[in-house]
Amino acid sequence: MPTPLITTRDLSKTYELGGFVVQALRGVSLDIYAGEFVAVMGPSGSGKSTFMNLLGCLDTPTSGEYLLAGERISGLDSDALAGIRNRRIGFVFQSFNLLPRTSALENIALPLLYCGVPAEARNRRAAASLAEVGLADRGHHHPAQLSGGQQQRVAIARALVNEPVLILADEPTGALDTLTSCEVMALLQQLNARGMTVILVTHEHDIAEFAKRVVTFRDGRVVEDRAVEKPRDAAALAIELRAEQPA
């Protein structure tokens, strides 16, 4: 058995909100191996987003252990966490989070700006990443000039540009219609097929079925952890959906 890419042991997170103590996460122990495609499911308030934020080093746990590729993350300072987010993790958000009035290429190059890659290499790598998500000709478009699906693909290109070990997608299809959702999921499946580890947060069963493993949260705990027998093929489904649409 190889070392897991992600190991959490008794991971807990407690918030204080207006005097109330909210236990968002109550001891989550999970192993995720390189190359997996995991969907994290659960109703709102189940702690799935909190778990995701902890994995993404956007937040720090109240107690428990988190190891990324064998390295202990809990206890690192904010600069070190920024470095991990920059080099090892790619984020995809529900609301895309692209900088407005900024070209797709510059948006994609953003992570490279913070690790000192020279301008020329930044442009080259951003263009390569954009081509990978199939939008090579949209490099100079601003987010407002792109459709929702295209914006999310630009965001995925940004997540990929610094060659991370892990893609964290938080409700990536939440703001998209069915066909576009399928296209985005197809892209994530394609990345996973090439060996990228993908963790996806969703509350839609349909979307979760594209993953290879589904972890369900309720009240801050893992209540179910199952392998998907036969993940749905997003690319094939997208073709089907496109054929159904009136011309």
Binding site: D59, D79, G83, R85, N97, L99, P111, N162
Partner: protein, 410 residues
């Protein structure tokens, strides 16, 4: 992240809110322009006074005879003939701090020359007078020692006299009659303009002191060669008070004045009056600059205000930048550079406006201005300083946001 990339990001952020950026800059533009203009006007006024002092001679001491008492009424300085030419020569010879000591006789009278006549002041002088009072011969030549020794009937005319007697024609070699005594004009004096007291300094004729005494004022018979005043120029770098003390002790000795008796002469130091004027103009200038600095301060607060708004507005952007790997100090740099860019662009525009305004003031209002490189450098430094000072708090606020909270900010 390098500084060039930061500047590019800052410029883009400022471009996105053009009107807001322009209005914020306006505060700095007006502040810097006001500081530069006020300093230019203030130091211009100061410079003019300094020039006047220089024209007069900063290190000039005027020696006047003492007063007489007639029936209990004291007659004022110069009413007694206690000073002689020999006193003046002794001062020149025996007081090392003195550069030039020039005895002078003063008179007024009608002058006839060319086709006109004119009432003016004439001074009987020695060649030292030119040095002591900073007179320059514009055309022709000055007096030779032989002119003094031989009481030659030669004269130098001030600019006003030349214009009134000769108009545009060349006065050199012409004859003028001063109190009916004929003189040959050997030269003209360079224009000096008005004195600080508003007198026309060019309405004057200079002649050898011996000529004035013997041929015009008719004092030839007297045993003592008395003079009206002595203009004494102290060497540069010498202490005025020290020189005055030496002159005083020399004269008391020469005039055999007892320890407990008053001087029979008066020493006047013109620069004291002018130093007071200079000081008041300097304070005025400082005051103007201080008032202008307040507007610069207000401009700085404007920058801080807008940066705080900007940080709040762009909280999600900050969150995203942090999510993709920006450290606190990257965010700090970004917002600081933005504030400094805002302040510097405003500062540069302010310099242009300030220099333009100063030139306009000198052109249209006619006030003297003095534009130096120092106020410009000062203003740029000040603008950058304001950017750093007022940008730091909002920038630090941005850099201390938690990534997850910034990302979730609505």
């Amino acid at each position: 992240m390098n500084i060039l990339a930061s500047i590019r990001i800052a410029l883009r952020a400022l471009r996105i809110n053009k009107l807001r950026s322009a209005l914020t800059m306006l505060g700095i533009i007006i502040g810097v322009a006001a500081v530069i203009t006020m300093i230019a006007v203030g130091s211009g006024a100061q410079q003019r006074i300094e020039d006047q002092i220089k024209g007069l001679g900063t290190n000039l001491i005027i020696l006047l005879p003492g007063s007489t008492t007639s029936g209990g009424a004291r007659m004022g300085a110069g009413s007694r003939n206690t000073l002689t030419e020999e006193d003046a020569y002794a001062i020149q010879r025996d007081v090392p701090a003195v550069q030039a000591s020039a005895p002078t006789l003063r008179g007024t009278g009608q002058v006839v020359g060319g086709t006109a006549n004119w009432s003016t002041v004439f001074y009987g002088v020695t060649p030292e007078y030119f040095e002591a009072r900073n007179w320059v011969v514009a055309q022709g030549k000055g007096f030779e020692p032989a002119d003094i020794a031989g009481a030659a009937k030669v004269a130098l005319l001030g600019d006003t006299v030349v214009r009134n007697l000769f108009g545009e024609t060349d006065p050199i070699g012409q004859v003028v009659r001063i109190r009916k005594v004929p003189f040959i004009v050997i030269g003209t004096l360079e224009k000096k303009g008005q004195s600080l007291m508003g007198q026309d300094q060019d309405d004057v004729i200079l002649m050898p002191i011996s000529t004035a005494r013997k041929r015009v004022l008719g004092q030839g018979a007297g045993r003592l060669r008395t003079v009206g005043s002595v203009s004494i120029k102290v060497r540069d770098g010498e202490d005025m008070a020290e020189a005055e003390a030496q002159i005083r002790s020399l004269l008391r000795q020469r005039h055999r004045i007892q320890q407990d008796r008053e001087d029979d002469f008066t020493l006047r130091n013109l620069s004291e009056v002018l130093a007071t004027r200079e000081e008041s103009s300097r304070i005025m200038g400082l005051l103007l600059a201080a008032v202008a600095s307040v507007s610069l301060l207000v401009g700085g607060i404007g920058i801080m205000n807008i940066m705080l708004v900007s940080v709040t507005e762009r909280t999600r952007e900050i969150g995203l930048r942090m999510a993709v790997g920006a450290r606190g100090r990257d965010i700090l740099t970004q917002f600081l550079v933005e504030a400094i860019t805002l302040a510097l662009i405003g500062g540069l525009l302010g310099i242009a406006l300030g220099v333009g305004g100063s030139v306009a003031i000198s052109q249209f209002v006619g006030w003297p201005i003095a534009l130096g490189i120092e106020p410009v450098v000062l203003a740029v430094g000040f603008a950058a300083g304001i950017g750093i000072f007022f940008g730091f708090y909002p920038a630090r606020k941005a850099s201390r946001l938690l990534p997850i909270e910034a990302l979730r900010y609505e």
